[in-house]
Amino acid sequence: MSATRRTSVVALVTLLASMAGAMLMLNAIDGPWRNAADHEALYLRSAKVLQRMSLGYTGLLADIYWTRAVQYFGEEHHKDSSNYALLAPLLDITTQLDPRLLPAYEFGANFLAPKPPLGAGLPDAALALIDYGIKHNPDDWRLYYDLGFLYYTELKDYAKAADAFRRGAELPVTNMYMSILAARMAQHAGEFDTARMLWRSTYENSKEPRIQQNAVEHLLALRVDEDVTQLENIVAKYREQKGRLPASMNDLERAGFLGGTPLDPKGHPYMLMADGRIEVQDPQNLYFITKGLPPGMNPPQPPREKRPTSN
């Protein structure tokens, strides 16, 4: 082998070996041991300073901060964290750098207000974020939708929710759900149909998989809540007619109240308890349900590993 060839071979081997080594080191550097300490610090909280430092490239910087916010939320969520201290400032910075970055508001409405571990538990911060968004995008119906959504789901202020949906419905460009939701808020706010419509339109109008997943789980939970309510009404009717509680679902079927054994969204039959309550078999896997739970159990939250963190 000539000297030149030999050098080339050695250089190639060194290149591949050092590349592999550098990749390993990169993984070591980015290991979980460092994230914890590192990410909790956000050195520049002032969007104004960032704006100046970006030399006018605020759009790009906003995109970077938006990616950071989504990533931060995903990682914290994955770690089963109950602390989302940076989500609000990250979203604030993002929207101040680019006030027209609408997905940031949608994300804020969905995940800033709910209590941990689903969200940051900061409804006021969520409201402030969306108010800021409306101020800068007064003609976009989606922000009114986000506002109404927030009032309805987290703050349970149906009058304000109705107001938000109506304002959104009056815009030149709007969405058909807006006027319907506005109308329903007044009288049917607590009904399943209203809630279902809200989550359904959230699912249909969002492009963010995390938000869509959240909507699907809420829709399933609504179905369970509705089923349980109906079944408990049937049990009550049975008791009225027969003077006693049914012993099993079969009793209800034989008496002609049911056409078969009803199943929950997971395919398990609903259970009739001795005291006439209805329970689901596997409450841990039916997130957000408020009915059909064993006494004293809180509405279950989705476990971390089932949440989409990688897409």
Partner: protein, 268 residues
Amino acid sequence: MSSDGMNSGGMKWRIGYIAFNTFREAVRDRVLYNLIAFALLLSGAAILVSQVSIDIERLVVVNLGLTAVSLFGVVIAIFIGIGLVSKEIDKRTLYTVLSRPVRRWEFVVGKFLGLTGTLVVNTLFMSFGVFLALLYVAHRFERMDGWVLVALYFIVLQFLIVCALALFFSSFSTPLMSAVFTFALFVVGSLAEDLRGFARIARGATGAVATAAAYLVPNFSALNVIGQVAHGDAIPARLILYNTAYALLYSAMAISGAVLIFQRRNLK
């Protein structure tokens, strides 16, 4: 071969001679002193700025001083690094060097070492300025000032990578293009953490490209601890170790690439 032993014996000396000549060229360049003077001026300006920002004098001095050291060092590294090979080809000085018993890889490695040495000396000078400014505002050194040394060490590691990249690009490209490539990689590399984050959440072809880019782009963000040390935070020993290994491996990768290309290049 009997003379082979003699050859490899002279080899390390030759690399040393080339490195020393590279160093000598850099220190005789007036542009270098202008840049260092500018960096020192910025450290000095930090004192002025810190006087208006009460209670955070130290913070401002460390942030501004180290940022100046880092940015001016990168400019120097790129400025000198891109010319290392191409200038020698343009001016045909390389012809006489390579007609000596100098192998091409020795030339590349010698150039790299010479440039690295130049930057280490520069950084020493500029660091001296930063510590003077620190002493001026704080009147004494504290224990946490030791972490500033770690930050400076990381900055030197950054320079190592920048030098290697500049050398890599200039082994096949024009000085201007090399400068553009290197600077672009410096900017992207400073956002490496975001790129890696993006690679984690992207999927499909985008995800594959992003992952490949995240691994190939030099990770300068992990080497930037200016913010932490300005607050007096400790730097984990593990990070020092990993960063050192990473910078050395990455530089070795870029230099091997440069050798591979330069080895076969026709010097027209």
